[in-house]
């Protein structure tokens, strides 16, 4: 109750400040749009379906790209964690590659895949793959050894051991990495979409800029934030709660 009140006060104050600044008209409305302007932009964007289409296209891309990252990253991470040679060589490379912003792959992606959807997917994958890989590697190492032993002891081996034991056993240790991977995938996608005009939220945002319509720009920014927040709150919080219920205390928060 108290928490809700704090939220309401904080956001009401923020909204009030924005309204006040807009009403004072220090800057012209095309530079500093009012809340009403942004609201109108949101309404008309949804009314003419352009936002729905953009959201659908962007979500589709990020789901495909992130999905590939998760599968590849888990395999890679497990490989790196269970092989001493790979751990020593590739482990360091992965960490150093993480300092590279994913959009740096854009020029290469353009050359390799051409100006199309695949180039965007490539950037999304490069953005999130490393987080997932490193998380999986770390999770595999943190996971208590006894689970693997007990699994092998009870007759699990090969893929069954991975699927029924190692993967569920490492889940609490990799969930934060998966979450980070999602955040990177989402950001990489929007960045790539802003560079390449082909539907998607990033493109709608750039369109707002081209039309000098700052209300639309801010409306799309709000959408991007909202989607990121909802996925985090629904998918990952749900996953964490689920793990918490099963494991008792989640080892990683």
């Amino acid at each position: 109750m108290k928490r809700a009140a704090r939220y309401i006060i904080f956001y009401a104050a923020l909204f009030g400040l924005w309204t006040l600044l807009a009403e004072l008209k220090i800057w012209p409305p095309y530079l500093f749009p009012s809340p009403w302007g942004v609201g109108e932009a949101l309404y008309s964007g949804f009314a003419d379906h352009s936002y729905w289409i953009a959201i659908r296209v962007s979500m589709q891309r990020v789901l495909i790209g992130y999905g590939i990252s998760v599968v590849l990253g888990m395999i890679l991470g497990l490989g790196v964690a269970s092989n001493k040679f790979l751990e020593e060589t590739m482990g360091g490379l992965l960490v150093s590659l993480q300092s590279l912003p994913s959009i740096c792959w854009w020029p290469l992606a353009l050359l390799w895949f051409g100006l199309n959807q695949n180039a965007i997917l490539f950037v999304v994958i490069m953005g999130s793959l490393l987080s997932v890989t490193l998380a999986m590697e770390d999770g595999r190492k943190q996971m208590p050894k006894i689970f693997g032993q007990a699994g092998r002891n009870l007759g699990a081996k090969g893929f069954k051991l991975f699927w029924y034991v190692l993967l569920p056993a490492s889940l609490p240790f990799i969930v934060s990495g998966l979450k980070q991977g999602w955040a990177f995938a989402w950001r990489s996608l929007i960045t790539a979409e802003m560079l390449y005009l082909s539907l998607g939220l990033g493109q709608v945002l750039m369109m707002g800029r081209d039309l000098n319509d700052m209300s639309a720009v801010i409306a799309v920014m709000l959408l991007i934030i909202a989607i990121g927040y909802i996925v985090d709150g629904v998918v990952f919080k749900g996953m964490e709660r689920h793990l918490h219920n099963k494991w008792g205390l989640t080892p990683a928060t």
């Binding site: 208590p144 050894k145 006894i146 689970f147 032993q149 007990a150 699994g151 092998r152 002891n153 009870l154 007759g155 699990a156 081996k157 069954k160 029924y164 034991v165 569920p168 056993a169 889940l171 793990l243 219920n245 099963k246 494991w247 008792g248 205390l249």
Partner: protein, 313 residues
Amino acid sequence: MSTNAQTVRSSFPLPADSRFPARGTRLGPVSVGVEEHIAIQTPKVGLSDICLSYRTQSGERLLALDNINLQVRSGEFVCIVGPSGCGKSTLLHLIAGLQSQTSGQVLIDGTPVQGPGTDRIMIFQDHGLFPWLTVGENVEFGMKMKGVPKAERLEKMRYYLQLVHLAKFEKSYIHQLSGGMRQRVAIARALATEPDVLLMDEPFAALDAQTRDLLHDELERIWSETGRTIIFVTHNVREAVRLGDRVILLTFRPGRVKSEFPVELDRPRSLEDPEVALAARAVLDELRDETNRSLEAEYRSGIKPHLEPGVQA
């Protein structure tokens, strides 16, 4: 240091008669008529000349297990005791096939062991239950890996949960259970794969005394009802004497069979029985030297003499 271990090795003769004929009364699963044949049968578990050495971080070779020979009859309850660092848990990991020995063989019914198998199931001190599965799913796990059909799995799972008096907890998660209940689930999970041999690695060490007493009774009952062969590792001599048909004493690093004590007391036994205390005294007297050596090594090196890599701290 490594040469030290080597010199001790050659000077130690092995105790001869490990195929001790079973005598005495007990409520075991094997009838007297069958027992008469056992002496000439192939042992259920046979360890022949097991040696295991490690390379330590400083690059030295360290002998952990030295020439272990042991035969366990089908349906026998054998307890292995020894000071920490004698490699008794490691020995169980070798029998389970979770680790391989440097030389020698582990034989099950005369056939050498190749990796893990569901004929030998281990029960760990930290129970090793899967927290992401319910109690029932844990018990089903081994059967699922074997490809047992769902209906049969459910039936057996319920049967074994009943056997450990946990039928009501089928849908619970592991973290909702007490330590004693967890060990009972671990026992049910192990039995559900219908192994011939149960390997128990200090399963009750982390439990309070009352719970442990209760589980001793239950284990004795389950053992006599199911007729499994049990190899039980513990550092608690009284526990070993209370449970075992035979107590094997291992030496401190390198682990060797120092002596064997047949326990021919009537069952069911209790930890408080004066006979149990008396028999335990005899084992303790021999164990004391080894414990002292273990402690000495601990003080000298400042490092805990834990050499069991398969075991969680």
